[in-house]
Amino acid sequence: MSAATGMTPASGAEAEDAGALANPRTLVDFVLRARTFGIVVILALLVVVTALIQPSFLSASNIRFVLSETAVYALVAIGETLVVLTRNVDLSVGSVVGLSAYVSANMFQTHHGIAIPVVFLVGLGVGLACGLVTGLITAVGRVPSLVVTLAMLYIIRGVDTIIVGSGQVVANSLPNSFINIFHASVLGIPDLAIAVAVAVAIAAYYLKSYRSGRDLYAIGSDPEAARLAGIPIAKRVFIAFVLSGSIAGLAGVVWATQYNTIDATAANGLELQIIAAVVVGGVAIFGGSGSVVGAALGALLLQTINVALNVLGVPSLWTEAIAGFLLLVAITIDRGIQLRLAAALRKRRSHLGA
């Protein structure tokens, strides 16, 4: 966006024009804020209603449970958001989490006494490698990410199955210090939730303030305009996939601390939950708008619903169906907002023009 303004001579008329355009932009901004606010309201309603029926839902231990359950989902949702913003999609994250979880946790079995940071690096490396492959094929090969990541979903899962074979990582092969990462908390808030919140804040700052972060929005809202504005699309999309893969790799290690017993089916189907969280969180599936904060809140909402249903005695079989249903509701609402917003902007522009 800045590149486009830089190219045009800054005459007085255009400065005025830019001032007029600032108005609709605040409108868009307002609606997007309202969208995120909407999730907070729904979340609050859900918590209040559930707590009225079953007061133990608000117990400190249950809140800690919900927050730590959300950690992995919100973490992976950060990477997915970066990709979705560019009008792409990464369906391979579930497989990356599964592969990374097994490979990293298995380090404790093959290398006794290995340092925990090294294990995290291994997980990061696994994710990075997956992200590199996906990013290369998508960005350099210029093929639709939907097809590539659908294929990668099964390729990585297949590789995982081959590596795991008939074995699995069992809880008693993991050191307590590793398992405790998941259970540690400060003032009743899980360490992991704090770490993920920090990661969300960093990603949000990056997307808001860095040029390459803004580029992701530009690419997603209009790839052709982004290209004409000189944005290196292939490079940015490549980086987005690499980041998404790396974050999923890290999340795999967190997954291992959470579930301890890891086989070849770990995190199977996770990608659908993540995409549901991202879209429910207000990130447009066709790119160009949304925030990581929204995506993380989307993940929190989905997990809170799961736990609430559990507390209310609804069988966990419903989890998947509800995630799918919410995704459909979210995109329907977004479509409605988008149509009204477009109409409102058109009205303002024609009014200003007259």
Binding site: R142, V147, A151, I155, L317, E320, A321, F325, L327, R335
Partner: protein
């Protein structure tokens, strides 16, 4: 590795006699001329020779057959052909509505979930002692409804098909698991489960699924090639706006395709449950990948507007052959084939693009020529 294009064209005729290819050969043959030529003329390029991708597929069919027979003498035995056909036939049937949908520039990722919903509903109703006739009607109605929900959200609400069908993939799979839960139903009457054991009309190598596929493929091929409805699918895929303004009822057509897809996948769900003679949780999981792989390997463009039923039939044949050949080797199992399947999918979208990539920066018509040459040769060293 650099086959002579004229020989490739020659083999099209001879290989056309093998089962599915021959059946749809006449129907699908002219499509690229219509679909691609239209674009080529627009771009000022030359008409590309007919059936280029399909020629490559025919060579691949022969290569897979050679590979299979070299791996095991059992490869072409009637038992092995039957086994290979049974599994892939179901996928191939689902690939037909998927082909039509992708030609219009949309996608349906919920096919495997509709299959699972149907199969698990079948199992649950059978557990509750419903009569088979009523079950069929109910299951097919539910499948059609599932397709209609997809179609309505996409055409009437105006949502992107990718997002909608990812949502319904999760929703329908979730509902399927709610209906049947962890139960497993396997006491279907043997008169029905015979479809997984006996060949069609006593032909021992021909599975029911492949027989059904051949019939449906001919219908779909004729529809695509010969009817104005078929031609309008290409028009929608190439330029939806233009298609709309030339009087094509874009929304109605897309809606009917999704309804059709729901109905077909639901019928395949019933067939598949009988073939396995069981309905369980996670039935048909991941089938959407395999269906999309077959369709794209068949030369259907993921961007819409291009593709033939003949190509998809050939791709199904390659897929069945490769899977069967690899499974005959002792070192391969179903999970390993997932990797191969994913690789095939990436290749089928990369190869046409790699050619374009090699020629990028040249003049448009020169690039088109280069793409043609490279695609025919399957190599990129002379670019």
């Amino acid at each position: 590795m650099a086959p002579d294009p004229t020989r490739a064209a020659g083999t099209t005729g001879t290989a056309g006699t093998t089962g599915t290819a021959g059946a749809t050969g006449a129907a699908g043959a002219g499509d690229p001329a219509g679909g691609r030529g239209w674009r080529a003329r627009l771009a000022g390029g030359r008409l590309e020779p007919l059936l280029r991708w399909e020629s490559a597929l025919v060579i691949a069919v022969v290569a897979v057959a050679l590979l299979g027979t070299s791996i095991s003498s059992q490869f072409l035995s009637s038992y092995n052909v039957f086994t290979a056909c049974t599994g892939v036939g179901d996928l191939a049937i689902m690939a037909l509505p998927m082909t039509l949908i992708i030609i219009t520039g949309e996608i349906d990722l919920s096919v495997a979930s509709i299959l699972a919903l149907s199969a698990e509903l079948l199992g649950d109703l059978w557990l509750h002692h419903w009569s088979m006739g009523v079950i069929f009607v109910v299951v097919l109605a539910v499948g059609t409804l599932a397709g209609a929900i997809n179609g309505l959200l996409i055409t009437r609400v105006g949502l992107p098909s990718l997002a909608v069908t990812i949502g319904t993939l999760t929703l329908y799979r979730g509902l399927a698991n709610v209906i049947l839960g962890p139960a497993s139903v396997s006491n279907f009457p043997t008169s029905y489960t015979a479809v997984g054991v006996n060949g069609f009309l006593g032909i021992s190598w021909l599975s029911w699924s492949v027989a059904i596929f051949i019939v449906l493929a001919i219908v779909a091929g004729v529809m695509l090639r010969m009817t104005s409805l078929g031609r309008s699918l290409y028009a929608i895929g190439l330029n939806e706006e233009a298609a709309f303004h030339s009087g094509i009822r874009v929304k109605r057509i897309k809606l009917s395709l999704y309804v059709l897809s729901g109905l077909v996948c639901s019928a395949v769900g019933i067939l598949y449950a009988f073939e396995l003679s069981s309905a369980t949780e996670n039935i048909g999981i991941g089938f959407e990948l395999q269906v999309v792989t077959i369709v794209l390997l068949g030369g259907v463009s993921i961007f819409g507007g291009r593709g033939t039923i003949l190509g998809v039939a050939l791709a199904a044949l390659i897929y069945a052959g490769l899977r069967s050949a690899l499974l005959l080797t002792s070192s391969f199992n179903e999970n390993d084939f997932e990797v191969v399947s994913g690789g095939l999918l990436i290749l089928s979208v990369l190869v046409p693009n790699a050619a374009a990539f090699a020629g990028r920066g040249r003049e448009l018509f020169a690039r088109r020529r280069a793409r043609g040459r490279l695609r025919a040769a399957g190599v990129s060293d002379d670019a």
